[in-house]
Symmetry: C2
């Protein structure tokens, strides 16, 4: 289930883009999120190499950056959090003071960016609008351990969920994952670089169907597959027992795909 | 995919129990893991209340501890990691020095225990051998955030995976998750207590089928469901491109269930 700050902020009109969440052709990823009308906060973009990245991850990063040169692919920036004071009013609608102490509310961090460099999820995503493909380059650090030496299956599910969610988000707007079906083939060694490939297969009304696989950097080993993950355009968020309606939602009933991009369910 | 230290250590004969991974009737959970023949390391058991646990989680914990009094249910202890020096020889078989620096090898932590108290996964599991049920009481901290105020879908998948894996492990021995199919119904508020109920449905040869749902503490809200998750008895681990055979594996082809516990696939 993709649940990123960027997504909900886009829904709320905080990060504005063209209707339907699409980027204008040739437009570059923003260097920083624009928060609400007048305030701008520069946050560190985590989807660039740091000293913990291994050689394979750096090589893959360079390859995809090369693909970005003609704008057919875009690198997606990624942030740890938005300072609490900047979204205080917004948060008070979503955080439950009965559940969270004030201190906890100011501590929230995006799950996939909540570890220090090199310890947890190291990743960068690249998107091709023409192909409706999202590729995530990922290296799982020592804090993601399941069995000794291997990445926990839940950490793999997290990255698959994030990648397919971002794929649907970029292609069609605000989404939440409704169904995630993962086949685990082989365990992923800790600190190895893998490539998570997701592809928008088809759109049916509000539903986006996205497939995904996780391969080794040399593409010789298939680690996991997610088949026909169902991602739904989101019309609201549940808050407690009632639905909280989100303003400014631009719903797109259908999305034009090339004929060869349609696959059967 | 359950990938816990305890699981692999059991496979390797480090944590010895009755054949097939079953506990002797009436036996208590161990206060600490016994590591290899003569060495014993006392590690902090994280599956007990700490100051970050909210009232609901504490109430549920007390209710289940009450159920443990007649030994029909057992609380499962849970550890962050096993000190590197204690499993150095073991680790060298599984960690790839080409991928990991020595410093990283000594930093590994079980993913679900890799956050400080209250920030990430707070949970405790209880198992009923008679019912073949595992219940995980879980509270997701502020570092597990997806959309503002809610637990990331990947963190939910992680806890479902861990719970169904532990259910199959307790019922039948060493396992890895082969397939995980999750339907997300409603987002889970950060810092709320939820109950993850898993049930061993049937066993077919090496395959264990486990169902699971995630409910609010008052059982009125269904957050997620995992249907027919397929967990396989594990005969070995992949290391690079070759299979690493694990000694002392006790394979159990079939597991007696009560008739009413069998469900169709």
């Amino acid at each position: 289930m993709l649940r990123s700050c960027a997504k909900l902020l886009r829904t709320l009109g905080a990060v504005r883009g063209p209707p339907g969440g699409r980027r204008l052709p040739g437009s570059e990823p923003r260097p920083a999120l624009r928060l609400f009308s007048s305030e701008e906060v520069i946050l560190r973009d985590y989807s660039v190499p740091n000293p913990s990245w291994n050689k394979d991850l750096r090589l893959l990063f360079d390859q995809f950056m090369k693909k970005c040169e003609d704008s057919s692919w875009k690198r997606l920036p990624s942030y740890k959090r938005i300072p609490a004071e900047k979204i205080q009013d917004f948060k008070t609608h979503l955080l439950d003071p009965k559940l969270m102490k004030e201190e906890q509310m100011s501590q929230t961090q995006l799950f996939t960016r909540s570890f220090d460099d090199g310890l947890g999820f190291e990743y960068v995503m690249f998107y091709s609008d023409v192909e409706k493909r999202m590729v995530c380059l990922f290296q799982g650090g020592p804090y993601l351990e399941g069995p000794p030496g291997f990445v926990h299956g839940g950490a793999i599910a997290t990255m698959i969920d994030t990648t397919i969610g971002m794929c649907a988000l970029m292609a069609g707007g605000v989404v939440v994952t409704a169904n995630l079906n993962i086949n685990y083939k082989r365990p992923i060694p800790l600190c190895s670089a893998v490539m998570i490939n997701s592809q928008l297969d088809k759109v049916e009304g509000r539903k986006f169907f996205v497939s995904c696989n996780v391969q080794s950097a040399d593409e010789k080993t298939l680690y996991s597959e997610a088949t026909n993950a169902e991602v739904e355009a989101n019309l609201g968020f549940v808050s407690g027992s009632s639905w909280l309606h989100i303003p400014n939602f631009q719903h797109q009933d259908s999305l034009p795909l090339r004929d060869d991009q349609h696959r059967s369910a």
